[in-house]
Structures are given as C-alpha cells and as structure tokens.
C-alpha cells in the first residue's frame, strides 16, 4: 500500500542462511515454514491420488486402474490428507508461527521440543510414504477390523506405524501450545484479550493431547492382532470387530474438530480484520470452541448407527451429535453478525472467509441429516457422507488454511502476492469445490456407495460433473502455489501492517525479527480494538 516501505534490516529469514540454520533452528517461525513445506508436500501427494480417483470415476466401469490399485489410492488419499495434511496444517504452520507472536512472546515454551515435533512428523510421514511405495495399503484410512487384521495382505503395519509415530508430534505440539498459552502471555494479555485464534488453538491442543493416545493404542492393537493373532477384534478367536470402531472413532471423530476448530479460529481473525471491528459475541465464540472440544469426545457412536448398535445407544449418540452442532451454529451466526456495520473488505482473505462460512454452513447442515438416525441409515457409507465431510474438511479446513495463509503471508514473507490472481484463485477454488462435491450429495441420496471402483451406469452424469469440478479445483490449488512462490522474490514489500489490522502480530515488522518484538509488548486493550478510524497505513 504505502510506497515507502522498507524491509527491516534484521528479521528471522536473514538470521542465518545455511541448511543447518534451518534444519537445526529453534525459531518457531522457521519451524512453521518447515511444516509448511512438509504439509504442502503431503497435500500434493494426497491430491495426486484424488486426481486418479476422479479420473477413474469418470466412467462407470473400472477401466483406468485395477480394483486393487483403486482401493490403495482412496486409502492413501485418506491417510495422507487426514493424518499428514488436515490435522497438522493449521496448528503446525499458522499456529506455530502465530501463537507466540499473538501473545507477545519470543517463542514457544519448548523450542527444542517444537523442532523435535517436526522431525517426528516427517519421519512418520516418510514411513507411511514408504508403505505406499513398497506396495500400498488397502484398508481404507479407517483400518476397519477384521479386514485390516486378518484379511488385508497389504502394508498395514508400516502405515499404522507411520501414523503412530506422527501422533507423538501432535501430542507434543499440543502440549507446547497449552503450556505457552498458559505461561507466556505478555503483561496485560489476559485470557479474554486473546485473539479467538488462540482460543481455538487451545481447544484443539486439548483434543490432541487427550485423544491422540487412543488412536495410538488402537493401531498397536491392530498390529498386535496381525502379528500375534490376539483375539481383540477377530470374532473367530473371541474378539469383537465393532470394538475397533469404538476405539477408532473415539479419536477420529474428535479429530474432525482438530481439523476444523483451527480453521474456525482463522476465520474469526479474518472476519474481524476484514470488517475492522470486534467479533460479535467474543466470549460466545471463545466458549463455543471449548464446548465443541468437550462434546466432540461424546459423539463417536454416531459412526456406528448401522454397525449393530442398540436402538437406545444410537438415540443417545444422536442427541449428543445434535448438541455438538449448536456451538458451530453459534459461531456462524456470530461471524455473520460481525459484518453488520463493519467496514467490510473484499480482499482475498475475506473472500476465503465468505467461502468458509458458506461451505461450512452446508457441511454443518448436512451433518443434521446424518445425525438423524432414521436418515443416516440410508445415507451413511454413501457419497452423501463423502460430500458432507469434504464440505467440513475441504470446504472448512482448507478454505480456512488458505485464507489464513493469504492473510498472514505478508507477515510470514514480508511481501505481497498478486491480489488479482489471488482473487481469481479463490473464486476457482470455490466454484471447483462446489462442482466437485455438491453432486455427491445427490449421488449418495440415490444410493451410490462409497469406495466403489465401478458403479451402475445411471450414476455417471453426476460423477462426470464431480470429476470436472475436481479438475477446476486442482487449478485453484496450483495457482496459489505459483503466485505465493513468485511473491517471495518479486512481490511488493508488505510493510508491517498491510491490512490495517490490529493484533500484536501487526505491530512488529514483516517479516518479524527472530525474537518477534524489539521489546516485550504490554497489552492494555481488548482483542480487535479498532480505533474510530485507522491512521494512515503504518509502515
């Protein structure tokens, strides 16, 4: 914006240049960038698999790849996207970068542990990648028993081990954030002055610390049953295959909130800055994050409505699932109300926020369908469910992630990207996403089961639409990759506060110095405390 912006002479990016200065860094901002490389790598691997899946489904017969290959593709698409992209993306990249800066701290509480978390994540990810290259995994990302323990001949144990290892990274990062938020807030930064992104990061970290051990244990049990033939899940030796589903979803349902809560936090920031006013109902939005974290642990049984669950336990899980929808609805209403009498921006981050609210609303409303047991029986395990959770995870989490990346990119890199291209990309993502996933709601209602390599010909038209949408979506994901990279070298200098936003991260230079602030800030104002008018752009 301002033409006299200068790069600060000392910042975290020019504080050491060699490979060692990156791979042995303890700076949370550099570790955030290491994670950015990691999650982007795994995202494009998962995306490549989705591309082949959508190409195969363009025709009803299974002709492009064999059924065995198809099963491995959707399995690894799920594993890569869930465990190595969606779960770490926002907390490990944006959270790592922002948590200390937003509370006015120099770094996280345990910088070495933070670096260790990245190495653990990468080792886990590469281990799972090895499992793919060495032959693949065909159990679905859900690892359902007894298929995964007695029937599958693919690389179950290496893949499970990779996920097991990566779990420690989630736990350690969660712990790091919890301790940092409790102990390292700058003077005056009370809990209720914290930006809402921190509330949602805090809630996410609680789920990470409490939930991840359960999936770790569950995967160990699967490995033990495969190797030693213990009868945990195999009914032929007295096990119960449904027990696995209870254990798996006890983590993996809260994991959905691990994915979407941080995105909700990002959107709160985007909406506040995009409207230049406080988020409507701050404390309701803050506490709704905690309510989601708590209630999210009590709804796992809604994945088992057709798995021989008793009528009464199904009813209990149904009512709890409706309850967890309420705090999400409260957030949507509050974000929308924030726009009332705002100074509403149409810049790229805000476009992603609009996109998020719209898609997340559809994802949430279709959640009511699957929480209503009588309807769930028909639509579960069909493309309806696929569409529903992609509206939450892709429409929610990835929109939030991309919005956040665009919003804080000037802070991270010190430079501005091409705003026109970025707006076009946001539009392409929105259109491509809806074209990909909306037809799948209809497919599911018509009865097309998920995980089908070939399908009856009457489903073809909707599948072709979905595949066409996926190719548009792919363009929308590749574009930001290109112009963000380009901006690193050729982008205009951003200045410390290109958006005219409040929040501690906008008071320091872009990029920030290694220690974040020249002096520890003292906070005497509430979050989103916008003045009557912004002063001319602060350079």
């Amino acid at each position: 914006m301002s033409s006299t912006v200068l790069t600060p002479p000392h910042h975290y990016l020019n504080d050491g240049f060699g490979v060692k200065s990156w791979l042995l860094t303890r700076d949370h901002k550099r570790i955030a960038l290491l994670y950015l490389c990691g999650v982007t790598f795994f995202f494009f691997i998962g995306g490549a698999m989705a591309t082949v899946i959508r190409l195969e489904l363009a025709t009803p017969v299974g002709d492009l790849v064999s059924d065995e290959t198809y099963n491995k593709l959707f399995t690894m698409h799920g594993v890569m996207m869930v465990f190595f992209f969606l779960i770490p993306a926002i907390p490990a990249v944006l959270g790592n970068f922002l948590v200390p800066i937003m509370i006015g701290a120099k770094d996280l509480a345990f910088p070495k542990l933070n670096l260790a978390s990245w190495y653990i994540y990468m080792i886990g990810g590469l281990f799972t990648l090895y499992a793919i290259i060495a032959g693949g995994l065909d159990t679905g990302w859900t690892f359902y028993t007894p298929f995964s323990t007695v029937s599958s001949t693919s690389n179950v144990i290496p893949a499970a081990l990779g996920i097991f290892i990566t779990g420690f990274s989630s736990i350690l990062t969660g712990l790091n954030f919890i301790v940092t938020i409790h102990r390292m807030r700058a003077p005056g930064m009370t809990w209720f002055r914290m930006p809402l992104f921190l509330w949602s990061t805090y809630a996410t970290s609680l789920i990470n610390v409490l939930g991840t051990p359960v999936i770790a244990i569950t995967l160990l049990l699967v490995a033990a049953e495969r190797i030693f033939h213990f009868g945990f899940f195999d009914p032929r030796v007295g096990g119960d295959p449904v027990l696995f589903q209870h254990l798996f979803w006890f983590y993996s349902h809260p994991a959905v909130y691990i994915m979407v809560l941080p995105a909700m936090g990002v959107v709160s920031e985007l909406v506040a800055a995009g409207c230049r006013k406080p988020v409507f109902g701050y404390s309701f939005v803050a506490f709704s994050s905690l309510a989601i974290a708590v209630l999210g642990f009590l709804v796992w049984g809604h994945h088992l409505f057709v798995a021989g669950e008793s009528v009464y336990s199904a009813m209990i899980f149904s009512i709890l699932s409706f309850l967890v929808a309420i705090p999400s609805a409260v957030k949507v209403f509050n974000w929308t109300a924030t726009m009332y009498k705002g100074s509403v921006s149409w810049e790229t981050p805000m476009l992603y926020a609009y996109g998020f609210i719209g898609l997340f609303t559809i994802g949430g409303l279709t959640g009511l369908f699957v929480a209503a047991i009588g309807v769930d029986v028909h639509v579960t395990d069909t493309y309806f469910v696929i569409a529903h959770f992609h509206y939450i995870m892709v429409g929610g989490t990835i929109m939030g992630y991309l919005g956040g990346l665009h919003f804080w990119w000037p802070k991270i890199s010190g430079r501005l990207y091409n705003e026109g291209l970025a707006k076009i990309a946001a539009g392409i993502v929105f259109i491509g996403f809806n074209l990909t996933f909306f037809p799948q709601f209809i497919l599911g209602y018509l009865g097309m089961p998920r995980r089908y390599h070939a399908y009856p010909p009457e489903f073809q038209v909707l599948n072709v639409l979905s595949s066409a949408g996926a190719s548009i979506l792919a363009v929308g994901y590749l574009l930001p990759m290109a112009y963000l990279m380009w901006s690193l070298r050729y982008g205009k200098l951003a200045g410390s506060n290109p958006w005219g936003a409040v929040g501690l991260e906008w008071t320091t230079t872009s990029p920030p110095p290694t220690e974040n602030f020249a002096e520890t800030p003292v906070v005497t104002w509430d979050a989103y405390d916008y003045p009557e008018r912004m002063e001319t752009n602060v350079a």
Binding site: D138, M315, T336, W346, A371, V375, A454, R533
Partner: protein, 320 residues
C-alpha cells in the same frame, strides 16, 4: 418405510436450504451494504446482545430436538419388524451374497421376494464386515462376522432393485452387488415351486442335526445329557450361576460354536465345540431346525430336569 425416510429427508433439505440461503443472503447483503469505501474506515462497534445470542442458541437447539425425535421414531420403526415376516437368511462373504430361503431355495447375488409382504433378512458374514444396502428400500445394516443382524422391508412395487455391499470389504468390494427381484405373489409362488429341490431349510438342519449326532444328547424325551430343544426358541433360559438369556439366533449360534460360554442351569459343560465343523450356512440350517421344534406342552422355560432328579415337567417325547 421409504416414504417415512424421504419425508424427513426432504424436511431436512428444506431446512438446510432455508438456513443456507439465510446465511448466504446476509453475507452478500452485508458485504455489499457495508463494503469498505475508504481505506482508512473502520467498523462501528456493536455491543453483543445477550438476547440475540440466546435466541440463536435456543432456536437451533429446539429445531434439532424436533429432528432428533422424528429421526429416532423412523429408526425405531426400522428396528422393529412386524410380527409376521417372510424370513430369509443371507451370508456375506468376499465377495458375494448367499441367500437361503426357508423352503430351501438358494440364490447368489439375487433375491426373489413377493410384493407387499414384509421381508426380514437375517444376515451374517463368513469373513469380514459387509453391509446389506438396498437404496430403494432405504435399508442398510452392517453384516458382522459372528453376529446376526436383521433388516426388514416391505416392497410395494414389482421390479429389480440394486443390492450393494456398503462396507468396504476388500479388493472386489464394488463387485459385491446384486439385485432384489420383487415379484407379483403369483409369479413368486411359481418361482418358489420351480426352484426347490433340496427340501426346506429346517429339514436340512434336521438332517445335519442327526449327522453331527447332536440328537444323542439333545433328546426330546429329556433323558439326554443336553437340554431339550423343543420349544426353546424365543424363551428365557436359566443359566448356571444365575441369570437368564433369551434363546435367539445369536444364543443358539454361540451354544454350537462356544458351548462353554453359557451353561444351562442343571447341566455339565461337556459339549464339544463345533467351531470349524459347521459353516455359516449350516449354522443357519441348524438354527432354523431348532426354531422349527415346537414345544408340545405349555412348559414355560426350556429348563430341563436335573440329570439325576425326578422329572418335574414331563415333556411329551417327540420324534420328527
């Protein structure tokens, strides 16, 4: 049932469209109405309204409770078949559906049923978890190894309907499909008489019961070392160490495969396991045979006499 599911489904569609349009409309309206005109402008602070927060917490809550009650009532009806149903057994295995009719007909990946009669499918799996899904009838149930699950439907129109396996079960999962052929009652009768060669399922079970020498202990005259099975099905059985169990399909299956799991009060745990000796289909035949053994008296429980004690309730010996 399909109508009831669809009624709720389209109610939810209406609700979803309403709220999606409400939110989208407000966003577009606010984005245009309050679009930032001056790069230094800020928003007007609006103080949070408790009344508004309460309203948009309570109203969605009430709406979801309506859906909850409605959805549960539909589910309740799905879980409770009418008393008189046409029962058909199905065994899922990688990657096919094997049907057995009570009259003895067997089918693979195709099921013939008459129009207008409630049909109850009793399903189990030979290997991994499958799922019996007929989209046209809005029914779906995981078919679990080691357990019997049932789904019921009442076809209203003759025709051919998709049957899908809806739980991923391995390489040829998408090939584990079939058709439900709904026929006019006359045609169905003709089909029934055209196919059966082996006798009824219960009679096949009876033959197996004799072949496996089950009848040496489970004698109908109450003098055997095992409990009398006549009139057993559906009763409460008193167990050793207290407690009772309902003699349903699962109990009979367990008693054949893991006899020591539940010992009938007054008997010794001497029965050997038949695990590995009888297939899932043979188990179903045995179950159907036990179901066919009608009690000859008004005996309230299947509890037999203690082996040495005097007979308390003399049952009439029956020979099939």
């Amino acid at each position: 049932m399909a109508g009831r599911v669809d009624a709720l489904y389209f109610f939810l569609v209406g609700l979803a469209v309403f709220f999606a349009l409400l939110i989208a409309g407000l966003i577009v309206f606010f984005a245009v109405r309050y679009h930032r005109q001056d790069s230094n402008a800020t928003g007007t602070k609006v103080h949070g309204l408790i009344a508004l927060e309460v309203a948009w917490t309570v109203i969605p809550f009430l709406i979801t409770m309506v859906i909850f009650v409605w959805g549960s009532s539909v589910y309740f009806a799905m879980a409770h078949p009418p008393d008189e149903t046409l029962n058909i057994y199905v065994v899922g295995k990688q990657w096919m559906w094997k049907f057995q009719h009570l009259d003895g007909q067997r089918e693979i990946n195709e099921l013939h049923v008459p129009v207008g009669r409630p049909v109850k499918i009793i399903a189990t799996s030979e290997d991994v978890i499958h799922d019996f899904f007929v989209p046209a009838f809005r029914v779906k149930a995981d078919v679990l190894p080691g357990r019997y699950v049932s789904v019921w439907f009442q076809p209203t129109k003759p025709g051919r309907y998709h049957l899908f396996c809806a739980e991923y079960c391995g390489t040829r999962h998408s090939g584990m499909i079939g058709e439900i052929v709904v026929m006019d009652p006359n045609e169905y009768e003709a089909w029934l008489t055209g196919g059966a060669a082996e006798g009824s399922l219960a009679s096949a079970g009876g033959k197996l019961f004799a072949d496996l020498a089950c009848n040496t202990c489970h004698r109908a005259d109450a003098q055997g070392r095992g409990p009398v099975l006549d009139g057993l099905f559906g009763r409460q059985v008193a167990l050793q160490g207290g407690g009772t169990v309902t003699a349903d399909e699962a109990y009979i299956r367990e008693s054949i495969l893991t006899p020591s799991a539940k010992i009938v009060d007054g008997f010794q745990p001497i029965m050997p396991t038949f695990q590995g000796l009888v297939s899932e289909e043979q188990l179903l035949q045995l179950i159907e045979y036990v179901k066919s053994l009608k009690s000859q008296t008004e005996q309230p429980t299947a509890r037999p006499n203690p082996p040495n004690g005097p007979a308390q309730n003399e049952t009439t010996p029956v020979k099939k």
